[in-house]
């Protein structure tokens, strides 16, 4: 069930969820977004420019955080009115069947007017914070 504005307060935690990023996900994201930067699909070039592996598009990780918030807020992607993140570490995506796991968690930082709340988000991959200073403003029911 969708969370309601009246039921949340500052500090309300949103249960963490895990999202996968496989090489196929990155290829699909490249095609759908138009971001064909080679470091997101070529091992050869990723390693030649000093990266540990092919890395996920930062925007793919941000999109997962957006889904996390939307899902919690009742499933309307249009309810997010502000959304900002800092990409604090790269997400290496190995060429295997599981790829990288991104764990997103969040909590209500502030109740705003007009049924809106500010949610602070964290995303971790491989034990490292990959999104920091991440915040979404979302309208609840």
């Amino acid at each position: 069930m969708a969370v309601r504005y009246a039921d949340v307060e500052q500090g309300t935690e949103i249960p963490p969820k895990i999202y996968q990023a496989t090489r196929l996900d990155l290829v699909k994201y490249a095609g759908a977004s138009g971001d064909f930067n080679v470091i997101h699909w070529s091992d050869r070039i990723a390693r030649s420019v000093g990266l540990p592996d092919v890395i996920a598009h930062g925007m793919y990780t941000m999109a997962q955080a957006g889904i996390f918030v939307t899902d919690w807020a009742g499933g309307d992607p249009g309810a997010i009115t502000e959304f900002g993140v800092r990409f604090s570490a790269m997400v290496p995506v190995p060429d295997d069947d599981t790829g990288a796991s991104i764990e997103v968690s969040g909590k209500v930082a502030e109740k705003l007017g007009d049924n809106k709340v500010a949610v602070d988000l964290t995303a971790r991959a491989g034990g490292t914070k990959v999104l920091t200073r991440a915040r979404a403003v979302v309208r609840l029911q």
């Binding site: 999202y19 996900d25 699909k28 994201y29 095609g31 759908a32 977004s33 138009g34 971001d35 930067n37 080679v38 470091i39 070039i45 420019v49 000093g50 890395i55 598009h57 930062g58 925007m59 793919y60 941000m62 999109a63 997962q64 957006g66 889904i67 939307t70 499933g75 309307d76 992607p77 249009g78 997010i80 009115t81 502000e82 959304f83 900002g84 993140v85 800092r86 990409f87 790269m90 200073r133």
Partner: protein, 147 residues
Amino acid sequence: MALNREYVGRVFGPTEPYEVSRVKIADFADAIGEPSELCRDREAAQKAGYPDVIAPPTFAMVISMRATAQVNADPGLGLDYSMVVHGEQSFSYSRPLHAGDVVVATTTIDSIKALGATSMLVTSTDISTVDGEHVCTAKCTIVERGQ
């Protein structure tokens, strides 16, 4: 290579008009794993009060990239795109993008900073309809890693 600081304040665009389509929204939603029917089912979107299917919030990047790509590819700026990683990103929406929107993007270079061999480029991109209605402002920091 250091970025050309004379580019601070420069404006790129507006881009050619971009028509937001249902198919593109659905493809994007599929690619990120967004399950909402509001991105796929026009009737459901209208029931929720939207004119047509709506785009997930980060879809705005598809449009803002059309303007920032002009910045990144400008030979005078001196950016090596294979050394670029995304530093920060934010979106501020007046409303969601929906199918049928015809929008243009205009990018301003806000700042260029160097931190040792690393350079940071901050841009703001305004996305508006061809009729001048503001839809979204996207702020982007990209980091060019030093060799």
